[in-house]
Amino acid sequence: MAVPTPEKLFSGSARMTLIGLLVVAAWLGMGYRLFEIQVVRAPELAEEGLSQRLVTREMAPQRGKIYDRNGNLLAMTVESQSLFAVPDQVTEPLYVAQQVGGLLGIDSDTLYERITSDRDFVYIERQVDGVLAEQILAQNLAGVFAHPEPTRVYPAGTVASHVTGFVNIDGDGQEGLELMYDDVLRGTPGHAEYEKAGPYVIPQGYTNIVPAVPGLDLTTTIDLPLQYQAQQACLDTVERTSAESCWAVVLEVETGEVLAMVGAPVFDPATRQTLDPSCEDADDPNQCRLFSNFVVRGMYEPGSTQKMITFAAALEEAEVTVGSIFEDIDDELELLEGACRSGDDDLHGCYVDFDEHDTMDMTVADIFTRSSNVGTIKVAETLGQKRLVDYIEAFGLGEETGIDYTVESPGLLRFDAGCQTCWASAAIGYSVAVTPLQMAAAYAAIGNDGVWTTPHIVRSTVDAEGETEVAGIETREVVSPGTALLMRELLASVVEDGTGRNGAVDGYRVGGKTGTANKLGEDGRYTDETRASFVGMAPIDDPQVVVAVLVDGPDYDHRTGGLAAAPVFSQIMEQALHRLGVSPDGEPG
């Protein structure tokens, strides 16, 4: 075979052939690469590309709103800005601390320390008002940024704080309805996946949006104007009587709906701080976090308001009639020999009436109207301990009422095995502990012809599809309608002729009962301090509303239920009747 000469090898036609072959090879190479990229590795590369462009964002659900019975907003969520800093990027920390600290009211030294720390991220202030945040961001301070964050706000301020409760800074329910209905209000988070190029969303790119499901709204049974009036009445009373606190609850008799539930001192649900002057100088921060709602959680010995149950039981059991006469009622009764002389165990064997009086014959009506402890124990004696306790339990004492409010106290109804006189104490409201709500519900049963109804504070939940009524309202007959009617007349006589005159309301016939109970000291002995209460209803011929008021620790001049609590009852009841449009007695309804 002849070897081609170099001249022939690099001749023009050969070179053209070679170049052609190289071009073809290059095209083949590119074609293979294209095939590999577009076909063989296509799914893998597409996924890799998508992962670089794909952004996943959690979508927080809108927390449900809380309304009063008339659609007034009690709680809602709005968007705010949370300001944060990346310390590494803050170039002028001193300037930032002074500028931002001044606008936000934060100590500049504290802020300086925070933004010069060695952390990657620090919050400057969370949930700042949008306008203020914009003002700060407009200064283009290096290393200072903001991100949107929902904030819970309470438009009614302190007025409904004991009802709504509050959430923490992360939006988790901590107290009141916010805690009780946290699962309902919270909603379900969603998420959005979408493709992004730089700061822009790629139109028609991959998107997968699972929308957040907003929380349900709550419609409460609260009447906001009445809530305000009741709270003002309580605040005024705390000032008037120098009491530690005042609590009141207003129930609609037939439905068990809570129209108002207030306490004084109040707290601001937004700042979670008690609004009490003493808090300004408080050493212990917990002193200013008195959020607990005494109406459902506080236990106290009810004193004479308990007598309503004793008399209702005796009348229902036909052991007495309203006109039954008890002879020789003294103002002192010694159930255990020597108890009244020892001065050691006054209320466990020795019982005295609040006012001294001569020995006299008294009808059942007289005993109730004058609130005689001795007479009441005589009435209770006709029942015996077992039947008395049965009725106390039937009226809902000693167990939770079932109200839809967080952490309810069941009260205390437990006698020591060896206690021989506890039944007598219980008959006049000692040796038992109740909540104001329990007493209100018990009186509401009398107003409702003997039918006890579960008190409740949420009427319905509301979502996009409409309103769903809250279930779980129970009713039970405690006494007959006849007994309830007799009791209502006895209660009216207390206001008309007895210890509860200050509870009267112009234009309406009112019935109620005062209660004054000495407070237990830390040593377990009774002190001179009292808890004054009044529970009553109106109009007495067809009760619509029950109001229970408790004034804790009034001064000596206002130490009784008639002096401290009855005037508050009168104010609140008057407003409640007006709010419900109840006609005055003698007027067509």
Partner: protein
């Protein structure tokens, strides 16, 4: 090479010679139409794609505007609720000399009497 005469075609009787049809040149028009359609389709697709993209941007803008309006609406609802707060209104009413009524006034309408005259009563017990 020697020349020789062409053989004469023998024409059989009964047959005649027809003039043959000329072959036409291939036309470019269909190709042009196809190209135009293809270009039009390409442009149409591009336009549609651009329109869709623009719509997507418009939609995003609209959604953003809706969100902003919804947020504004919520802020206004909050403002209204704050303005309606009894704790704000009551002191203002007090300053203006307004008081909470202590009696309930009722207008009693006699439905049997077409006269619009009504009797007024209050909590003191007066009635028609």
């Amino acid at each position: 090479m020697t020349a020789r005469p062409l053989r004469r075609l023998r024409v059989e009787e009964g047959l005649r010679v027809l003039k043959g049809r000329r072959l036409r040149k291939p036309s470019v028009a269909p190709w042009m139409i196809m190209v135009i359609i293809a270009v039009a389709a390409f442009l149409g697709l591009g336009f549609a794609r651009t329109s869709l993209d623009r719509s997507a941007f418009d939609l995003a803008e609209l959604n953003k505007a809706i969100d902003e309006q919804a947020a504004l609406n919520e802020q206004l609802r909050l403002e209204v609720a704050r303005l309606e707060n009894p704790a704000r209104i009551a002191p203002l009413a007090d300053e203006l000399g307004l008081v909470i009524p202590t009696t309930t006034n009722q207008l009693l309408v006699n439905l049997d009497d077409p006269s619009p005259v009504v009797a007024e009563s209050d909590g003191d017990g007066a009635s028609q």
